[in-house]
Structures are given as structure tokens and as C-alpha cells.
């Protein structure tokens, strides 16, 4: 049933985008009224980001007189947006991340590149150049205004490590020894969602152990793991860790939520988790947690443990309807980049992609304190796959990387499974 749905949507969206490209614009839904803006986002009322957004929007309306209608979506935002685009009834502005289908939106005309807006609108120095580059596609379109980012460290529960007679591992050999010690003390080692996006990212993090940044990006963009000796060394390292019992039992079937629950409940001592989990950590796990990275491999590229970070969690995207309300949109975007508004976001524990200084000292969370301080100096930053792995490869790759977490599959089988996904996507 799900496949039918996906196929139906794929046809619909392809048709829609083709028609959109051919037409000169349809009716406007957000459109018409210059004193109102329709914002579509995955920052729902159920999370802290959504609450912060609503607080900021209230202030914006009070200040500008412009009303903002917020449309909430789940993970299906891109599909719903593309369908409404077909009807010319899309929202004026989107607040959503840069991944999967969104990677090609500027190229295929689903959104308006913001290159000129970046120059003309008064955003000060809020957006760092690195973030702009992360949001720029291979045709030099800046897809949207970078807004929030993330860090994605490895979490180590020092209480559990101490009980097992070990400490935070800094090298691969130490990681294997730590995993054995943890297992002997009845605690799971590394918990990750081997069956979904989180496990895919950790696989790709280990994959790049012996590649430099350029080669990593090339492999992420084009595949060809089997032909790249350095990538194969990464895959072999992965299988070596897997077979040494570094991951918790049944990791190939876990989702990100299940893996997070294992760590948060003390059933696993190590968990790679992103900044979205910072505010979910409760005592005593929060105080016992030391944030770090994936340990250093002998002969590898990284000299320090490595973790992910990125500037692509969410950004402001201008839609064809939004282009017709440029003046109102300018006010909204400029407001969202004001230091006081960015502080509202930071207060909600959101990691910003902006360079504006924020005060997080009053946030009572030992995890956030580490994330904003010691973590930044203690790790190297790995290449985040989202901006490089093509949209039509990313999702199908989850199944291929699930193969990697399953014992009995050797490096050749794994690289072939991943390369097949790239080949299928053409």
C-alpha cells in the first residue's frame, strides 16, 4: 500500500513540477492579501521549536501588523507542498530542512532561489558564508535562507562506563575494548537506528574514516564504494566493529527512537544522537553524559574523534506565491534574523545556523552546556551526507545500510548493496 502511495505521489509530483515549469503561475492561495503570509513548516506545536516559532510569529504580527497563518505538516511536507504547487495554491514561505527532495527544489522551479534576496534584504552578518555554501546547489542557486543547524555527537554515559571499569574511548581499539567491557557488565554498547536514517548516517560517518573531504563528497554524490579503496577500508572497519559486538544486539532492526530510548534508559552506554535530543535527556543520564565523537582510527583522516554538524536543519524557502508578496516576506525574514528573535530560538534549545551570538548560559541543561562549549574543541567535523547524497538515493539507502548492520554480510556485499542504490537512481 505504501509503495502504491509513493508511486502515485511520484507520478503526481513529476507531472506537477512539469506543469509548473510550463505555466506562468496559477491562482494564488497564500496570494492576494499583502498583509498576510502563509507559512508551511514541520515545526509542529508538539515540539519546542514549534512553540518558539509561534512566540516569534506573535511578536512579528504585533510589530508589523502582518498576519501569519501556520500550516503544520509531518514528514510528508514535501509531498503536500509539491501537490499544492501544482494547483498554484502553495504557501508563501516554508520553514523546512534541506534534504532528500528539497535538494532539487530550486533547480526544478519549486522554489525561488534567494541569491538576490540575500544581497538586498537587511540580514546583517547573521548568515555565515559556510551556511550559504551548504544551501547552494550545483547551479549556484541558494535554495533558501539557512536558519537552524545541528550538532550530532556521540553520547557516552560515564556512569555506565565506570561501572564496566572503562572510560570514554578515544581510539578504535579502545572502542572495541569498551564494548566488550560493557557487554560483560550487562549493558549494551552503541545504540543506533540500524533500520533508518540515523543508522545510515552513522554508517556513512564510519565509511569516511580513511577518505579526505573531497573523496568523501565524491563518494556521497556518485557512489562507487566498491571501486574506492579508501571507502572499502571504511566499510571493512564498519564490519570489524559490528563483528566485535560494538553495536547493541538487534541493531539492524532498531529505529532512531528505539535506539534513543535504549540510551536514555541506561540500557545502552553509547549513542550517537543529534542536538534534537539535547532537551530530552533527563537525570541521571544527562549529568552522566559526556559528548564526544566517533573514536580515532589508526591511519585514518581524523586526528580527533569526529562528529557531525550541519547548517541544514531548517531554512526559509521562498515559494512562487511568496515571490508575489516580496515586501511582506522581507519583513518576516528580517524579523526572524533579528538577534532578539534568534535568542527566542536559542532559548528553546535550538542550534542555530546563524553567526549571531546567543546567550545559553541560563538554559539548565548539562548537555547543552557541553554542546556549546567543550564539544566544539574536542572533535573534528565529519562530512554530513545530507547535502551530497542525491535525494533519490538517500531514502532507498536506508535498506542497504541496514544490510551493513546485519551480521554475516561482508564488506563486498555491503558496498554492492549501496552501489546498487546509486545505480538504480541513475
Amino acid at each position: 500500500m505504501h509503495r502504491f502511495r509513493q508511486a502515485g505521489l511520484a507520478v503526481l509530483v513529476t507531472t506537477g513540477l512539469a506543469l509548473t515549469a510550463c505555466s506562468s503561475g496559477g491562482a494564488s492561495a497564500g496570494g492576494g492579501d499583502a498583509d498576510s503570509i502563509t507559512l508551511q513548516t514541520i515545526w509542529t506545536s508538539g515540539n519546542s521549536q514549534g512553540t518558539a516559532l509561534r512566540d516569534a510569529i506573535k511578536e512579528f504580527t504585533a510589530e508589523s501588523g502582518i498576519k501569519v497563518k501556520i500550516l503544520e505538516n509531518g514528514e510528508d511536507l514535501n509531498q503536500v507542498y509539491e501537490t499544492s504547487l501544482l494547483a498554484g495554491d502553495e504557501a508563501d514561505v516554508l520553514l523546512v530542512g534541506l534534504l532528500e527532495k528539497q535538494l532539487d527544489w530550486a533547480k526544478n522551479g519549486a522554489v525561488i532561489p534567494v541569491n538576490n534576496y540575500l544581497k538586498d534584504w537587511d540580514l546583517g552578518d547573521a548568515i555565515p558564508q559556510a551556511a550559504v555554501e551548504a544551501w547552494t546547489d550545483d547551479e549556484d542557486n541558494v535554495r533558501g535562507f539557512p536558519y537552524t543547524g545541528f550538532t550530532w555527537p556521540w553520547w557516552y554515559n560515564t556512569d555506565l562506563l565506570k561501572k564496566a571499569g572503562t572510560e570514554v574511548p578515544k581510539t578504535i581499539d579502545e572502542l572495541k575494548a569498551t564494548a566488550a567491557a560493557l557487554r560483560a557488565s550487562g549493558v549494551g554498547p552503541v545504540a543506533t537506528g540500524g533500520n533508518d536514517w540515523s543508522g545510515q548516517k552513522i554508517f556513512l560517518q564510519i565509511l569516511q574514516t580513511y577518505m579526505d573531504e573531497k573523496e568523501t563528497i565524491q563518494v556521497f554524490e556518485k557512489g562507487g564504494l566498491c571501486k574506492s579503496p579508501n571507502a572499502m577500508k571504511g566499510v571493512e572497519l564498519f564490519t570489524e566493529l559490528r563483528d566485535a559486538g560494538v553495536f547493541v544486539d538487534g541493531v539492524e532492526g532498531l529505529t532512531a527512537d528505539q535506539a534513543q530510548a535504549l540510551y536514555m534508559s541506561g540500557k545502552a552506554a553509547i549513542g550517537p544522537m543529534g542536538s534534537w535530543a539535547y532537551l530530552h535527556a533527563e537525570e541521571p543520564v544527562a549529568s552522566a553524559t559526556e559528548l564526544g565523537g566517533f573514536p580515532v582510527a589508526s591511519g585514518g583522516t581524523f586526528t580527533k574523534p569526529n562528529a557531525y554538524r550541519g547548517d541544514t536543519s531548517a531554512g526559509w524557502w521562498v515559494t512562487p506565491n511568496g515571490q508575489k508578496k516580496e515586501a511582506a516576506l522581507k519583513k518576516l525574514v528580517e524579523f526572524m534574523y533579528k538577534p532578539s528573535t534568534i535568542q527566542i530560538m536559542a532559548d528553546a534549545g535550538i542550534v542555530m545556523a546563524t553567526s549571531t551570538k546567543v546567550d545559553t548560559s541560563h538554559i539548565d541543561s548539562p548537555i547543552i552546556a557541553q554542546a556549546n562549549g567543550p564539544l566544539l574543541d574536542s572533535v573534528d567535523w565529519a562530512v554530513m551526507p545530507d547535502g551530497h547524497v542525491p535525494g533519490d538515493v538517500s531514502n532507498p539507502m536506508y535498506r542497504a545500510t541496514s544490510v551493513a548492520y546485519t551480521k554475516g554480510n561482508d564488506a563486498k556485499a555491503i558496498c554492492a548493496a549501496v552501489d546498487n542504490v546509486y545505480a538504480a537512481a541513475g
Binding site: 500500500m1 502504491f4 502511495r5 508511486a7 502515485g8 505521489l9 507520478v11 503526481l12 507531472t15 506537477g16 492561495a29 508551511q40 514541520i42 509542529t44 506545536s45 508538539g46 515540539n47 519546542s48 521549536q49 497563518k69 501556520i70 500550516l71 503544520e72 505538516n73 509531518g74 514528514e75 510528508d76 509531498q79 503536500v80 501537490t83 499544492s84 501544482l86 494547483a87 495554491d89 536514517w197 532512531a256 527512537d257 528505539q258 530510548a261 535504549l262 536514555m264 534508559s265 540500557k267 543529534g274 534534537w276 535530543a277
Partner: protein, 301 residues
């Protein structure tokens, strides 16, 4: 001297054998009864497990749901229902869902009852062909109609409206509704119709006063089946009605309660429980009549 076995003697000899055989068959029968009861209870338990899991999850934290899924006492919280109601604005969403469901159900009945009446009374080839066309409707998967449906909604200027789905959903429900009602109406005795016609009843009067009352149990079955289908409809509601809080249905609102990086399974479970309540009420009201329809069908068979 020859002895002849009298019937009395034979019966007397056979009696212990029969008693023994009877005790044996009673034992087997009792065993089978226990076995079938056990199987039924097992089946009931299997049906109850997901409901139990859903209900207890509505009162638990995320970590407890994931780590101790069947423990009803782990990680108890009471505010999931309030959060679900508020965060997904379930009040308007349920009203939208009800509007859509009732509208589509009424329209389906308005179309299916006269169509079935005509097909049931038809004796020509054309009626048979039309009935076959309705049966072919089963072969068209709803998702196959997605692209033309969206195009149609746009061309009718009904995209992002609930009214389009009220018009569209009956199309998918018509085949089953018409086939069930046609079969039921064929069982109405011709004498009843003839006497009504002799009394001067019009076609509409015959349908209303003769056919509908006799086929009411089947009609109720159709109402319940359509209600369940329309109430639980998600995909077309998501794509065509969209996420506007003023228009979206409860099924579209629910997924916003649990996102990839901010899962709230307890709140989501509470939201699902809330949306199940109307379904349960409708089923409770009509269940007896539906069982009557099933029973009536069995007796006629």
C-alpha cells in the same frame, strides 16, 4: 438345544458397549468444545492486544513505551490526552472529519439506493452490464486515481476544500454499496411490490415504503462500512484538503503529534484513542442491526 439370542439379551450385551462408546464420544466432544473455546479466547486476546497496547501507551512516556511496551505501570503520565487535543487542535479537526464522513456517507446512500433499486428490478441485459461495471470498480486501486483526482479537484476549483472529497469519496464506496444493496433488494418478494403498485404507489413510494424497510439491515451494514472507510481516510485528505488547521481532518492532524526527531508516541496514542471514540459510538449504535443483517443473510442462504 439351540439357544437363540433374544433381542433383550442382545440389547443387554450391547448396552455396556454403547455406554462405553458414548462416554468416549462425549469425551472427544468435550475436548473439542474446550479446544474451540480456547481457540476463540485466543483469537479474542489477539484482537485485544493492539487495543490494550494503544490504550496503555496513551498513558505512558516515550521511553516506557519503547522499553516496556506491555507494562501498564511503567512511566505513567496523565497529560497525553490534553497535549494531543491542544497540539493537534483536535476539536476542529474532528468536526471536519465528521462533516466529511457524514456528507460522503449521505451522498453515497442517495446514489447507491436508487441505483441498487433499479438494478434489482432490472430484467434486461443493460442492467446486467451496469451491474458488471460496478463490480469492475473493485479492480481500480484508489491510488491509481490519484493524479486525475488531483487534476480534477484543481480544474473544478475545489482543491484545498473538504467539499471535493465529499463528492469524490462516494465514487470509491459505490461498488460495494451497490452490490450489497442490489443483492438485498433482489430478495424482496415480488408480491409486496405488486400489492403496493396496485394500491397506486409510485416508484419512489415503492422504494421508500417497501424496499428500504425490508433491506434496512443491509443498508445499516453499508452505512457502517462506509462510515469506517470515510472516517479513517487519510491520503486523499492530506493531499487534497491539505494541512490548513481550519480544514484539515483528524487523520491529517494526528501525524503532526509525532515527528522524526521529536517523537511523542504517548501523545500520538492518546490522539488516536480520541479519534476512535466516535467510531466506537457509531458502531455501538448500529452493531445490533448489522448483526441482524448478517443473521438475516445467513437464514436466507
Amino acid at each position: 438345544m439351540t439357544t437363540t439370542a433374544s433381542p433383550l439379551n442382545t440389547r443387554a450385551q450391547a448396552a455396556p458397549v454403547r455406554a462405553s462408546s458414548s462416554r468416549g464420544s462425549r469425551g472427544i466432544s468435550a475436548f473439542l468444545t474446550y479446544l474451540s473455546h480456547g481457540a476463540i479466547w485466543l483469537y479474542v486476546l489477539l484482537l485485544l492486544v493492539p487495543i490494550y497496547y494503544l490504550v496503555i501507551s496513551a498513558f505512558k512516556t516515550n521511553t516506557a513505551i519503547l522499553n516496556e511496551p506491555f507494562n501498564p505501570f511503567a512511566g505513567l503520565v496523565l497529560d497525553n490526552f490534553g497535549k494531543a487535543w491542544e497540539q493537534a487542535t483536535l476539536g476542529p479537526a474532528l468536526l471536519n472529519q465528521a462533516y466529511l464522513t457524514v456528507g460522503a456517507s449521505v451522498l453515497t446512500l442517495l446514489l447507491a439506493i436508487p441505483a441498487s433499486y433499479a438494478l434489482a428490478r432490472s430484467k434486461g441485459k443493460l442492467g446486467g452490464i451496469v451491474e458488471r461495471i460496478f463490480q469492475v470498480g473493485f479492480l481500480v486501486p484508489a491510488f491509481a486515481a490519484l493524479v486525475p483526482t488531483v487534476m480534477l479537484a484543481i480544474s473544478m476549483n475545489l482543491f484545498h476544500t473538504r467539499e471535493f472529497l465529499i463528492l469524490f469519496l462516494p465514487a470509491g464506496a459505490m461498488p460495494l454499496s451497490v452490490i450489497l444493496l442490489t443483492q438485498a433488494m433482489r430478495t424482496v418478494p415480488a408480491e409486496l411490490e405488486e400489492s403496493a403498485v396496485l394500491d397506486g404507489a409510485s416508484q419512489m413510494r415503492v422504494l421508500w415504503a417497501v424496499f428500504l424497510p425490508v433491506t434496512m439491515p443491509t443498508t445499516i451494514t453499508v452505512i457502517i462500512l462506509n462510515f469506517l472507510g470515510f472516517w479513517n481516510e487519510y491520503f486523499f485528505s492530506l493531499v487534497i484538503i491539505g494541512p490548513d488547521p481550519a480544514l484539515r481532518t483528524a487523520q491529517v492532524a494526528l501525524p503532526t503529534l509525532s515527528m522524526t526527531n521529536a517523537a511523542q508516541y504517548g501523545v500520538l496514542a492518546a490522539g488516536i484513542v480520541i479519534t476512535l471514540i466516535p467510531v466506537y459510538i457509531v458502531y455501538a449504535i448500529f452493531a445490533e442491526k448489522m448483526e441482524g443483517a448478517v443473521l438475516a443473510g445467513a437464514l436466507k442462504g
